[in-house]
Amino acid sequence: MSEVRGIYTLWLREVKRYLRERTRIVSSFVQPLLWLVIFGTGMRFQFSGTGSLKYQEFIFPGIIGQTLLFTSMFMGISVIWDREFGFLKEILVAPVSRISIFLGKMLGASTDAVIQGIIVFSLGFVVGVPVNALIFIKSLPLMLLITFGLVCIGLTIASFISSLESFGVIQSFVNLPLFFLSGALFPLSNIPAWLQWFSYVNPLTYGVDGLRTIILGSSWTSLSPLHYDILVVCVFDVAMILVGTLAFSRRR
Protein backbone atom coordinates (compact mmCIF):
# COMPACT_ATOMS: atom_id res chain seq x y z
CA MET A 1 0.00 0.00 0.00
CA SER A 2 2.73 2.44 0.96
CA GLU A 3 4.44 1.67 -2.37
CA VAL A 4 1.29 2.67 -4.27
CA ARG A 5 1.16 5.85 -2.24
CA GLY A 6 4.80 6.51 -3.05
CA ILE A 7 4.16 6.07 -6.77
CA TYR A 8 1.14 8.36 -6.59
CA THR A 9 3.13 11.01 -4.68
CA LEU A 10 5.93 11.05 -7.22
CA TRP A 11 3.45 11.07 -10.12
CA LEU A 12 1.62 14.01 -8.60
CA ARG A 13 4.85 15.96 -8.21
CA GLU A 14 5.79 15.54 -11.88
CA VAL A 15 2.36 16.60 -13.08
CA LYS A 16 2.19 19.58 -10.72
CA ARG A 17 5.57 20.82 -11.86
CA TYR A 18 4.56 20.42 -15.48
CA LEU A 19 1.24 22.23 -15.15
CA ARG A 20 2.98 25.14 -13.42
CA GLU A 21 5.18 25.76 -16.42
CA ARG A 22 2.74 27.74 -18.51
CA THR A 23 5.30 28.80 -21.09
CA ARG A 24 6.15 25.20 -21.89
CA ILE A 25 2.52 24.32 -22.45
CA VAL A 26 1.92 27.31 -24.70
CA SER A 27 5.10 26.68 -26.67
CA SER A 28 4.09 23.07 -27.14
CA PHE A 29 1.43 24.31 -29.57
CA VAL A 30 3.93 26.10 -31.70
CA GLN A 31 6.39 23.47 -32.87
CA PRO A 32 3.85 20.93 -34.19
CA LEU A 33 1.94 23.76 -35.83
CA LEU A 34 5.08 24.76 -37.71
CA TRP A 35 5.56 21.19 -38.86
CA LEU A 36 1.96 20.77 -39.90
CA VAL A 37 1.44 24.13 -41.56
CA ILE A 38 4.82 25.16 -42.99
CA PHE A 39 6.58 21.84 -43.50
CA GLY A 40 3.34 20.13 -44.46
CA THR A 41 2.42 22.78 -47.04
CA GLY A 42 5.91 23.04 -48.45
CA MET A 43 6.40 19.33 -48.98
CA ARG A 44 2.92 18.34 -50.09
CA PHE A 45 3.81 17.78 -53.78
CA GLN A 46 7.03 15.97 -53.14
CA PHE A 47 5.81 12.57 -52.08
CA SER A 48 4.14 9.64 -53.67
CA GLY A 49 2.67 6.68 -51.88
CA THR A 50 0.26 8.49 -49.60
CA GLY A 51 -2.66 7.27 -51.68
CA SER A 52 -5.69 9.47 -51.64
CA LEU A 53 -4.45 11.28 -48.54
CA LYS A 54 -3.33 14.88 -48.48
CA TYR A 55 0.27 15.13 -47.25
CA GLN A 56 -0.80 17.12 -44.20
CA GLU A 57 -3.30 14.45 -43.28
CA PHE A 58 -0.59 11.88 -43.75
CA ILE A 59 1.90 13.52 -41.41
CA PHE A 60 -0.64 14.50 -38.74
CA PRO A 61 -0.44 11.18 -36.82
CA GLY A 62 3.31 11.25 -37.43
CA ILE A 63 3.59 14.66 -35.77
CA ILE A 64 1.63 13.34 -32.78
CA GLY A 65 4.15 10.51 -32.62
CA GLN A 66 7.00 12.99 -32.90
CA THR A 67 5.62 15.10 -30.06
CA LEU A 68 5.30 12.02 -27.85
CA LEU A 69 8.85 10.98 -28.74
CA PHE A 70 10.51 14.34 -28.19
CA THR A 71 8.63 15.15 -24.99
CA SER A 72 9.19 11.69 -23.53
CA MET A 73 12.89 11.75 -24.20
CA PHE A 74 13.12 15.29 -22.88
CA MET A 75 11.55 14.22 -19.59
CA GLY A 76 14.73 12.30 -18.82
CA ILE A 77 16.23 15.67 -18.11
CA SER A 78 14.09 15.94 -14.98
CA VAL A 79 16.14 13.15 -13.40
CA ILE A 80 19.33 15.08 -14.11
CA TRP A 81 17.80 18.26 -12.70
CA ASP A 82 16.72 16.40 -9.59
CA ARG A 83 20.20 15.05 -9.13
CA GLU A 84 21.82 18.42 -9.79
CA PHE A 85 19.55 20.21 -7.31
CA GLY A 86 19.86 17.49 -4.71
CA PHE A 87 16.21 16.56 -4.69
CA LEU A 88 16.93 13.05 -5.92
CA LYS A 89 18.60 12.28 -2.57
CA GLU A 90 15.42 13.14 -0.71
CA ILE A 91 13.56 10.57 -2.82
CA LEU A 92 16.28 7.94 -2.72
CA VAL A 93 16.47 7.85 1.09
CA ALA A 94 12.70 7.62 1.45
CA PRO A 95 11.40 4.19 2.47
CA VAL A 96 10.05 3.55 -1.03
CA SER A 97 11.55 0.92 -3.33
CA ARG A 98 13.58 1.95 -6.34
CA ILE A 99 11.01 0.23 -8.56
CA SER A 100 8.27 2.48 -7.20
CA ILE A 101 10.47 5.55 -7.58
CA PHE A 102 11.04 4.63 -11.18
CA LEU A 103 7.37 3.88 -11.84
CA GLY A 104 6.23 7.12 -10.20
CA LYS A 105 8.66 9.13 -12.26
CA MET A 106 7.78 7.20 -15.40
CA LEU A 107 4.02 7.59 -14.99
CA GLY A 108 4.39 11.29 -14.20
CA ALA A 109 6.58 11.96 -17.21
CA SER A 110 4.24 9.90 -19.41
CA THR A 111 1.26 11.92 -18.25
CA ASP A 112 3.08 15.13 -19.18
CA ALA A 113 4.04 13.75 -22.60
CA VAL A 114 0.51 12.55 -23.33
CA ILE A 115 -0.89 15.97 -22.39
CA GLN A 116 1.43 17.40 -25.04
CA GLY A 117 0.17 14.74 -27.45
CA ILE A 118 -3.44 15.69 -26.73
CA ILE A 119 -2.64 19.33 -27.44
CA VAL A 120 -1.29 18.34 -30.86
CA PHE A 121 -4.28 16.09 -31.40
CA SER A 122 -6.55 19.08 -30.97
CA LEU A 123 -4.72 20.81 -33.84
CA GLY A 124 -6.18 18.27 -36.29
CA PHE A 125 -8.80 20.72 -37.49
CA VAL A 126 -6.08 23.13 -38.66
CA VAL A 127 -4.97 20.73 -41.37
CA GLY A 128 -8.44 19.42 -42.04
CA VAL A 129 -8.15 15.99 -40.43
CA PRO A 130 -11.61 14.92 -39.27
CA VAL A 131 -10.93 14.10 -35.62
CA ASN A 132 -13.85 13.43 -33.29
CA ALA A 133 -14.40 12.23 -29.74
CA LEU A 134 -14.54 8.56 -30.72
CA ILE A 135 -11.23 8.73 -32.59
CA PHE A 136 -9.74 10.57 -29.65
CA ILE A 137 -10.88 7.96 -27.15
CA LYS A 138 -9.48 5.20 -29.35
CA SER A 139 -6.16 7.00 -29.83
CA LEU A 140 -5.56 7.86 -26.18
CA PRO A 141 -4.63 4.36 -24.94
CA LEU A 142 -2.26 3.89 -27.86
CA MET A 143 -0.67 7.28 -27.17
CA LEU A 144 -0.12 6.23 -23.56
CA LEU A 145 1.40 2.90 -24.59
CA ILE A 146 3.79 4.58 -27.02
CA THR A 147 4.82 7.07 -24.34
CA PHE A 148 5.63 4.55 -21.59
CA GLY A 149 8.45 2.91 -23.51
CA LEU A 150 9.85 6.17 -24.83
CA VAL A 151 9.89 7.79 -21.38
CA CYS A 152 11.76 4.73 -20.10
CA ILE A 153 14.45 5.27 -22.76
CA GLY A 154 14.85 8.89 -21.62
CA LEU A 155 14.98 7.98 -17.93
CA THR A 156 17.42 5.13 -18.53
CA ILE A 157 19.80 7.36 -20.46
CA ALA A 158 19.49 10.01 -17.76
CA SER A 159 20.35 7.52 -15.02
CA PHE A 160 23.73 6.87 -16.68
CA ILE A 161 24.55 10.48 -17.50
CA SER A 162 25.33 13.22 -15.07
CA SER A 163 25.51 16.42 -17.11
CA LEU A 164 22.75 18.21 -18.95
CA GLU A 165 25.00 18.88 -21.94
CA SER A 166 25.86 15.26 -22.67
CA PHE A 167 22.24 14.28 -22.15
CA GLY A 168 21.27 16.71 -24.91
CA VAL A 169 23.80 15.22 -27.30
CA ILE A 170 22.87 11.61 -26.65
CA GLN A 171 19.19 12.46 -26.74
CA SER A 172 19.40 13.78 -30.29
CA PHE A 173 21.37 10.68 -31.32
CA VAL A 174 18.39 8.62 -30.25
CA ASN A 175 15.58 11.01 -31.14
CA LEU A 176 16.28 11.76 -34.78
CA PRO A 177 16.87 8.22 -36.08
CA LEU A 178 13.75 7.01 -34.25
CA PHE A 179 11.79 9.92 -35.68
CA PHE A 180 13.03 9.76 -39.29
CA LEU A 181 12.81 5.99 -39.53
CA SER A 182 9.30 5.78 -38.07
CA GLY A 183 7.61 6.82 -41.28
CA ALA A 184 6.22 9.90 -39.56
CA LEU A 185 7.16 12.23 -42.43
CA PHE A 186 7.16 9.97 -45.48
CA PRO A 187 5.92 6.53 -46.48
CA LEU A 188 8.51 3.88 -45.70
CA SER A 189 8.20 2.58 -49.27
CA ASN A 190 10.18 5.70 -50.27
CA ILE A 191 13.38 4.57 -48.56
CA PRO A 192 15.74 1.80 -49.76
CA ALA A 193 15.08 -1.74 -48.58
CA TRP A 194 18.14 -2.00 -46.32
CA LEU A 195 17.06 1.13 -44.46
CA GLN A 196 13.54 -0.22 -44.14
CA TRP A 197 14.90 -2.96 -41.89
CA PHE A 198 15.83 -0.29 -39.35
CA SER A 199 12.30 1.02 -39.55
CA TYR A 200 10.90 -2.41 -38.82
CA VAL A 201 12.84 -2.68 -35.55
CA ASN A 202 11.86 0.87 -34.58
CA PRO A 203 8.97 0.68 -32.10
CA LEU A 204 7.78 4.13 -33.08
CA THR A 205 7.05 2.82 -36.61
CA TYR A 206 4.30 0.65 -35.13
CA GLY A 207 3.07 3.46 -32.91
CA VAL A 208 2.73 5.84 -35.83
CA ASP A 209 1.20 3.14 -38.00
CA GLY A 210 -1.35 2.36 -35.30
CA LEU A 211 -2.23 6.05 -34.86
CA ARG A 212 -2.69 6.39 -38.63
CA THR A 213 -4.98 3.37 -38.72
CA ILE A 214 -7.14 4.86 -35.95
CA ILE A 215 -7.13 8.49 -37.12
CA LEU A 216 -7.21 8.13 -40.91
CA GLY A 217 -9.34 5.01 -41.07
CA SER A 218 -9.78 3.22 -44.36
CA SER A 219 -7.95 5.83 -46.44
CA TRP A 220 -4.67 4.62 -44.94
CA THR A 221 -3.25 1.27 -45.99
CA SER A 222 -1.58 0.13 -42.79
CA LEU A 223 1.80 -1.61 -42.61
CA SER A 224 0.47 -4.12 -40.14
CA PRO A 225 -2.90 -4.77 -38.50
CA LEU A 226 -3.75 -2.60 -35.48
CA HIS A 227 -3.65 -5.43 -32.94
CA TYR A 228 -0.18 -6.31 -34.21
CA ASP A 229 0.96 -2.67 -33.79
CA ILE A 230 -0.36 -2.63 -30.25
CA LEU A 231 1.32 -5.93 -29.42
CA VAL A 232 4.72 -4.69 -30.64
CA VAL A 233 4.38 -1.45 -28.64
CA CYS A 234 3.40 -3.43 -25.51
CA VAL A 235 6.41 -5.74 -25.82
CA PHE A 236 8.61 -2.66 -26.23
CA ASP A 237 7.05 -1.10 -23.09
CA VAL A 238 7.61 -4.17 -20.93
CA ALA A 239 11.22 -4.48 -22.09
CA MET A 240 11.97 -0.81 -21.48
CA ILE A 241 10.30 -0.76 -18.06
CA LEU A 242 12.52 -3.69 -17.05
CA VAL A 243 15.64 -1.98 -18.38
CA GLY A 244 14.71 1.30 -16.71
CA THR A 245 13.98 -0.33 -13.37
CA LEU A 246 17.35 -2.08 -13.47
CA ALA A 247 19.11 1.17 -14.33
CA PHE A 248 17.46 2.89 -11.39
CA SER A 249 18.11 0.11 -8.91
CA ARG A 250 21.88 0.28 -9.07
CA ARG A 251 23.30 1.23 -5.72
CA ARG A 252 26.92 1.36 -4.80
Binding site: S2, R5, G6, Y8, T9, L10, L12, R13, K16, R17, R20, R83, F85, G86, F87, L88, K89, E90, I91, L92, V93, A94, P95, V96, S97, S159, S162, F248, R250, R251, R252
Partner: protein, 329 residues
Protein backbone atom coordinates in the same frame (compact mmCIF):
# COMPACT_ATOMS: atom_id res chain seq x y z
CA UNK B 1 22.68 0.23 27.93
CA UNK B 2 21.11 0.12 24.50
CA UNK B 3 22.60 2.20 21.73
CA UNK B 4 20.56 3.84 19.02
CA UNK B 5 23.52 3.73 16.65
CA UNK B 6 26.39 1.30 16.76
CA UNK B 7 29.06 0.79 14.12
CA UNK B 8 31.46 -2.11 13.69
CA UNK B 9 34.63 -1.39 11.71
CA UNK B 10 32.58 0.69 9.31
CA UNK B 11 34.77 1.32 6.25
CA UNK B 12 34.26 3.02 2.91
CA UNK B 13 36.83 3.15 0.12
CA UNK B 14 36.56 5.10 -3.09
CA UNK B 15 39.16 3.44 -5.28
CA UNK B 16 42.43 3.86 -3.43
CA UNK B 17 41.10 6.55 -1.13
CA UNK B 18 39.89 5.36 2.25
CA UNK B 19 37.25 7.88 3.24
CA UNK B 20 36.14 6.11 6.41
CA UNK B 21 38.54 3.76 8.13
CA UNK B 22 37.23 1.10 10.54
CA UNK B 23 34.97 3.43 12.42
CA UNK B 24 33.55 2.24 15.73
CA UNK B 25 31.11 4.54 17.47
CA UNK B 26 28.20 4.09 19.82
CA UNK B 27 25.57 6.73 20.14
CA UNK B 28 23.23 6.75 23.09
CA UNK B 29 19.53 7.37 22.85
CA UNK B 30 18.51 11.00 23.15
CA UNK B 31 21.92 12.59 22.90
CA UNK B 32 23.19 15.17 20.45
CA UNK B 33 26.24 13.53 18.97
CA UNK B 34 28.71 15.56 16.95
CA UNK B 35 31.11 14.45 14.26
CA UNK B 36 33.71 17.16 14.11
CA UNK B 37 36.43 17.28 11.52
CA UNK B 38 37.90 19.26 8.66
CA UNK B 39 36.42 19.15 5.17
CA UNK B 40 37.09 15.77 3.63
CA UNK B 41 37.57 13.96 6.95
CA UNK B 42 34.85 11.44 6.12
CA UNK B 43 31.94 12.88 8.07
CA UNK B 44 29.47 13.01 5.22
CA UNK B 45 30.57 9.60 3.94
CA UNK B 46 29.89 8.19 7.41
CA UNK B 47 26.44 9.76 7.48
CA UNK B 48 25.70 8.59 3.94
CA UNK B 49 26.41 5.03 4.98
CA UNK B 50 24.28 5.31 8.11
CA UNK B 51 21.47 6.70 5.93
CA UNK B 52 21.85 3.76 3.50
CA UNK B 53 22.75 6.04 0.58
CA UNK B 54 26.18 4.44 0.29
CA UNK B 55 27.03 0.82 0.90
CA UNK B 56 29.99 0.27 3.24
CA UNK B 57 33.03 -1.39 1.65
CA UNK B 58 33.34 -3.48 4.80
CA UNK B 59 31.98 -3.51 8.33
CA UNK B 60 28.44 -2.54 9.20
CA UNK B 61 26.29 -0.55 11.59
CA UNK B 62 22.90 -0.63 13.22
CA UNK B 63 20.54 2.31 13.40
CA UNK B 64 17.58 1.90 15.75
CA UNK B 65 18.74 -1.76 15.93
CA UNK B 66 18.28 -2.30 12.17
CA UNK B 67 21.26 -3.31 10.07
CA UNK B 68 22.15 -0.68 7.47
CA UNK B 69 23.21 -3.30 4.91
CA UNK B 70 20.52 -5.90 5.42
CA UNK B 71 17.52 -3.79 6.46
CA UNK B 72 17.85 -0.49 4.59
CA UNK B 73 14.08 0.04 4.36
CA UNK B 74 13.59 -0.17 8.15
CA UNK B 75 16.59 2.08 8.71
CA UNK B 76 15.14 4.68 6.34
CA UNK B 77 11.86 4.67 8.18
CA UNK B 78 13.67 5.33 11.47
CA UNK B 79 15.68 8.33 10.36
CA UNK B 80 15.30 11.90 9.17
CA UNK B 81 18.04 13.62 7.22
CA UNK B 82 19.02 17.17 6.48
CA UNK B 83 21.63 16.97 3.75
CA UNK B 84 24.60 19.23 3.39
CA UNK B 85 23.41 20.42 -0.03
CA UNK B 86 19.86 21.66 -0.48
CA UNK B 87 17.41 18.90 -1.38
CA UNK B 88 14.04 20.60 -1.73
CA UNK B 89 11.90 20.98 -4.82
CA UNK B 90 11.88 24.71 -5.47
CA UNK B 91 8.98 24.52 -7.93
CA UNK B 92 6.70 23.40 -5.14
CA UNK B 93 5.52 25.33 -2.09
CA UNK B 94 6.87 24.68 1.38
CA UNK B 95 3.73 22.84 2.37
CA UNK B 96 3.72 20.75 -0.80
CA UNK B 97 7.27 19.67 -0.06
CA UNK B 98 6.20 18.62 3.41
CA UNK B 99 3.08 16.80 2.22
CA UNK B 100 5.13 14.94 -0.36
CA UNK B 101 7.60 13.87 2.29
CA UNK B 102 4.81 12.75 4.63
CA UNK B 103 3.32 10.64 1.84
CA UNK B 104 6.63 9.07 0.92
CA UNK B 105 7.14 8.09 4.55
CA UNK B 106 3.59 6.82 4.95
CA UNK B 107 2.34 9.29 7.57
CA UNK B 108 -1.42 8.74 7.73
CA UNK B 109 -3.65 11.38 6.18
CA UNK B 110 -5.33 12.42 9.47
CA UNK B 111 -2.07 12.86 11.23
CA UNK B 112 -0.35 14.64 8.37
CA UNK B 113 -2.10 17.95 8.73
CA UNK B 114 -1.50 18.28 12.44
CA UNK B 115 2.07 17.17 12.18
CA UNK B 116 2.90 19.52 9.33
CA UNK B 117 1.47 22.46 11.27
CA UNK B 118 3.52 21.44 14.29
CA UNK B 119 6.84 21.21 12.45
CA UNK B 120 6.16 24.43 10.56
CA UNK B 121 5.58 26.11 13.88
CA UNK B 122 8.80 24.74 15.29
CA UNK B 123 10.83 26.41 12.54
CA UNK B 124 8.55 29.48 12.37
CA UNK B 125 7.59 29.11 8.74
CA UNK B 126 3.80 29.02 9.12
CA UNK B 127 3.37 32.30 7.27
CA UNK B 128 5.42 31.29 4.27
CA UNK B 129 4.24 27.70 3.98
CA UNK B 130 2.20 28.31 0.84
CA UNK B 131 4.86 30.21 -1.07
CA UNK B 132 6.99 28.56 -3.71
CA UNK B 133 10.35 27.40 -2.39
CA UNK B 134 12.19 29.46 -4.98
CA UNK B 135 11.12 32.57 -3.09
CA UNK B 136 12.74 31.34 0.14
CA UNK B 137 16.12 32.51 1.43
CA UNK B 138 18.76 29.87 2.04
CA UNK B 139 18.19 30.08 5.79
CA UNK B 140 14.46 29.47 5.32
CA UNK B 141 15.15 26.51 3.05
CA UNK B 142 17.41 25.04 5.70
CA UNK B 143 14.68 25.46 8.30
CA UNK B 144 12.14 23.86 6.01
CA UNK B 145 14.49 20.93 5.50
CA UNK B 146 14.82 20.52 9.26
CA UNK B 147 11.04 20.58 9.56
CA UNK B 148 10.74 18.06 6.76
CA UNK B 149 13.22 15.72 8.40
CA UNK B 150 10.98 15.60 11.47
CA UNK B 151 7.57 14.92 9.95
CA UNK B 152 7.62 11.14 10.18
CA UNK B 153 8.69 11.04 13.85
CA UNK B 154 12.20 9.77 13.17
CA UNK B 155 14.14 8.16 16.01
CA UNK B 156 17.37 9.66 14.69
CA UNK B 157 17.84 12.95 12.91
CA UNK B 158 21.00 13.41 10.85
CA UNK B 159 22.12 16.98 10.29
CA UNK B 160 24.99 17.19 7.83
CA UNK B 161 26.64 20.58 8.22
CA UNK B 162 23.31 22.20 9.11
CA UNK B 163 24.64 25.75 9.06
CA UNK B 164 27.11 25.57 6.20
CA UNK B 165 26.93 28.70 4.08
CA UNK B 166 24.51 30.53 6.37
CA UNK B 167 25.18 33.99 7.72
CA UNK B 168 26.06 34.25 11.44
CA UNK B 169 22.63 35.48 12.46
CA UNK B 170 20.78 32.69 10.65
CA UNK B 171 23.26 30.23 12.11
CA UNK B 172 22.34 31.32 15.65
CA UNK B 173 18.72 30.88 14.65
CA UNK B 174 19.21 27.35 13.40
CA UNK B 175 21.09 26.48 16.58
CA UNK B 176 18.12 27.63 18.60
CA UNK B 177 15.84 25.29 16.61
CA UNK B 178 18.18 22.36 17.03
CA UNK B 179 18.36 22.89 20.78
CA UNK B 180 14.59 23.26 21.04
CA UNK B 181 14.21 20.12 19.02
CA UNK B 182 16.39 17.93 21.18
CA UNK B 183 14.36 19.06 24.19
CA UNK B 184 10.86 18.79 22.72
CA UNK B 185 11.11 15.66 20.63
CA UNK B 186 12.08 12.17 21.66
CA UNK B 187 14.96 12.10 19.27
CA UNK B 188 18.67 11.46 18.88
CA UNK B 189 20.56 13.97 16.78
CA UNK B 190 23.73 13.24 14.85
CA UNK B 191 25.39 16.36 13.63
CA UNK B 192 28.44 16.88 11.47
CA UNK B 193 30.24 20.16 11.44
CA UNK B 194 33.58 21.76 10.95
CA UNK B 195 32.61 24.74 13.06
CA UNK B 196 34.12 24.40 16.53
CA UNK B 197 31.63 26.76 18.04
CA UNK B 198 28.72 24.78 16.66
CA UNK B 199 29.97 21.49 18.07
CA UNK B 200 30.73 23.12 21.41
CA UNK B 201 27.31 24.74 21.76
CA UNK B 202 25.08 21.93 20.57
CA UNK B 203 26.64 18.55 21.26
CA UNK B 204 26.51 16.33 24.31
CA UNK B 205 29.40 14.30 22.96
CA UNK B 206 31.82 14.91 20.15
CA UNK B 207 33.88 12.53 18.02
CA UNK B 208 36.81 14.26 16.41
CA UNK B 209 37.37 12.61 13.08
CA UNK B 210 40.35 13.03 10.79
CA UNK B 211 41.31 11.02 7.69
CA UNK B 212 38.38 8.71 8.31
CA UNK B 213 39.45 7.81 11.83
CA UNK B 214 38.31 8.90 15.25
CA UNK B 215 41.08 10.66 17.09
CA UNK B 216 39.12 11.62 20.19
CA UNK B 217 35.66 11.10 21.61
CA UNK B 218 34.20 12.72 24.70
CA UNK B 219 32.00 15.52 25.98
CA UNK B 220 33.09 18.98 24.85
CA UNK B 221 33.89 19.76 28.46
CA UNK B 222 36.20 16.84 29.10
CA UNK B 223 37.83 17.16 25.70
CA UNK B 224 38.85 20.64 26.73
CA UNK B 225 39.71 19.48 30.22
CA UNK B 226 42.22 17.01 28.85
CA UNK B 227 44.18 19.98 27.65
CA UNK B 228 45.03 20.97 31.17
CA UNK B 229 45.80 24.58 31.87
CA UNK B 230 45.72 27.30 29.31
CA UNK B 231 46.76 28.11 25.78
CA UNK B 232 49.16 30.85 24.80
CA UNK B 233 48.95 31.85 21.16
CA UNK B 234 52.03 33.60 19.84
CA UNK B 235 51.99 35.14 16.41
CA UNK B 236 55.40 35.47 14.84
CA UNK B 237 57.18 34.99 11.52
CA UNK B 238 59.86 32.96 13.29
CA UNK B 239 57.52 30.31 14.65
CA UNK B 240 59.90 27.43 13.95
CA UNK B 241 62.86 29.04 15.71
CA UNK B 242 60.85 30.10 18.72
CA UNK B 243 59.39 26.63 19.01
CA UNK B 244 62.89 25.14 19.05
CA UNK B 245 64.00 27.52 21.75
CA UNK B 246 60.95 26.74 23.84
CA UNK B 247 61.37 22.97 23.63
CA UNK B 248 64.78 23.37 25.22
CA UNK B 249 63.14 24.82 28.32
CA UNK B 250 60.59 22.98 30.43
CA UNK B 251 58.14 25.81 30.41
CA UNK B 252 55.70 24.40 27.89
CA UNK B 253 53.83 21.06 27.83
CA UNK B 254 53.12 20.90 24.14
CA UNK B 255 53.74 23.08 21.11
CA UNK B 256 51.70 23.17 17.96
CA UNK B 257 52.50 25.26 14.93
CA UNK B 258 49.71 26.39 12.68
CA UNK B 259 51.05 28.70 9.99
CA UNK B 260 52.65 31.67 11.69
CA UNK B 261 50.91 30.91 14.95
CA UNK B 262 52.43 29.03 17.82
CA UNK B 263 50.03 27.41 20.26
CA UNK B 264 51.56 26.58 23.61
CA UNK B 265 49.83 24.36 26.15
CA UNK B 266 50.87 25.57 29.56
CA UNK B 267 49.87 24.92 33.18
CA UNK B 268 49.83 28.50 34.31
CA UNK B 269 49.63 31.07 31.60
CA UNK B 270 50.36 34.08 33.73
CA UNK B 271 53.65 32.64 34.88
CA UNK B 272 54.85 31.43 31.51
CA UNK B 273 53.77 34.31 29.31
CA UNK B 274 56.43 36.80 30.47
CA UNK B 275 59.15 34.13 30.14
CA UNK B 276 58.15 33.39 26.56
CA UNK B 277 58.20 37.05 25.61
CA UNK B 278 61.51 37.54 27.34
CA UNK B 279 63.05 34.56 25.58
CA UNK B 280 61.84 35.74 22.21
CA UNK B 281 63.20 39.25 22.80
CA UNK B 282 66.60 37.97 23.88
CA UNK B 283 66.88 35.75 20.78
CA UNK B 284 65.85 38.58 18.52
CA UNK B 285 62.55 37.01 17.48
CA UNK B 286 59.92 39.59 16.72
CA UNK B 287 56.51 38.79 18.20
CA UNK B 288 53.52 40.34 16.48
CA UNK B 289 50.95 39.46 19.11
CA UNK B 290 50.40 37.26 22.14
CA UNK B 291 47.18 36.09 23.69
CA UNK B 292 46.20 33.86 26.56
CA UNK B 293 42.94 31.92 26.69
CA UNK B 294 41.17 28.83 27.97
CA UNK B 295 41.37 25.93 25.52
CA UNK B 296 38.51 25.74 23.04
CA UNK B 297 37.63 22.90 20.68
CA UNK B 298 39.90 24.38 18.05
CA UNK B 299 42.80 23.79 20.38
CA UNK B 300 41.51 20.33 21.10
CA UNK B 301 41.47 19.56 17.42
CA UNK B 302 44.96 20.93 16.97
CA UNK B 303 46.11 18.95 19.97
CA UNK B 304 44.88 15.63 18.58
CA UNK B 305 45.63 16.07 14.91
CA UNK B 306 48.54 18.48 14.92
CA UNK B 307 46.72 20.63 12.39
CA UNK B 308 44.45 23.60 12.65
CA UNK B 309 40.97 22.72 11.45
CA UNK B 310 40.49 25.69 9.17
CA UNK B 311 43.77 25.47 7.30
CA UNK B 312 42.72 22.23 5.61
CA UNK B 313 42.83 22.69 1.85
CA UNK B 314 39.61 22.70 -0.11
CA UNK B 315 41.01 20.42 -2.84
CA UNK B 316 40.40 17.18 -1.07
CA UNK B 317 36.91 18.22 -0.23
CA UNK B 318 36.02 18.88 -3.84
CA UNK B 319 37.46 15.51 -4.78
CA UNK B 320 35.42 13.69 -2.19
CA UNK B 321 32.26 15.63 -2.84
CA UNK B 322 32.60 14.94 -6.53
CA UNK B 323 32.98 11.23 -5.84
CA UNK B 324 30.00 11.26 -3.56
CA UNK B 325 27.87 13.03 -6.15
CA UNK B 326 28.68 10.34 -8.65
CA UNK B 327 27.73 7.64 -6.17
CA UNK B 328 24.26 8.96 -5.66
CA UNK B 329 22.00 7.87 -8.44
Amino acid sequence: MSYIIETWDLTKKFGTLTAVDKLNIRVEKGEVFGLLGPNGAGKTTTISMLCTILKPTSGTATVNSFDIVKQPAQVRRSIGIVFQDPSVDDRLTGRENLVMHANLYGVSANEQKKRIEAVLKLVELEDRADNLLRTYSSGMRRRLEIARGLIHYPKVLFLDEPTLGLDPQTREHVWTYIRALSKQEDITIILTTHYMEEADKLCDRIAIIDYGKIVALDTPHSLKEKLEGEIITVKTKDAERLSKKLTETRLVDKINIAGDELKLNVKSGHMVLPRVVEMAASSGIYIESVSLHEPDLGDVFLHYTGRAIRTEGGEEYHGLTAIRRRQIR
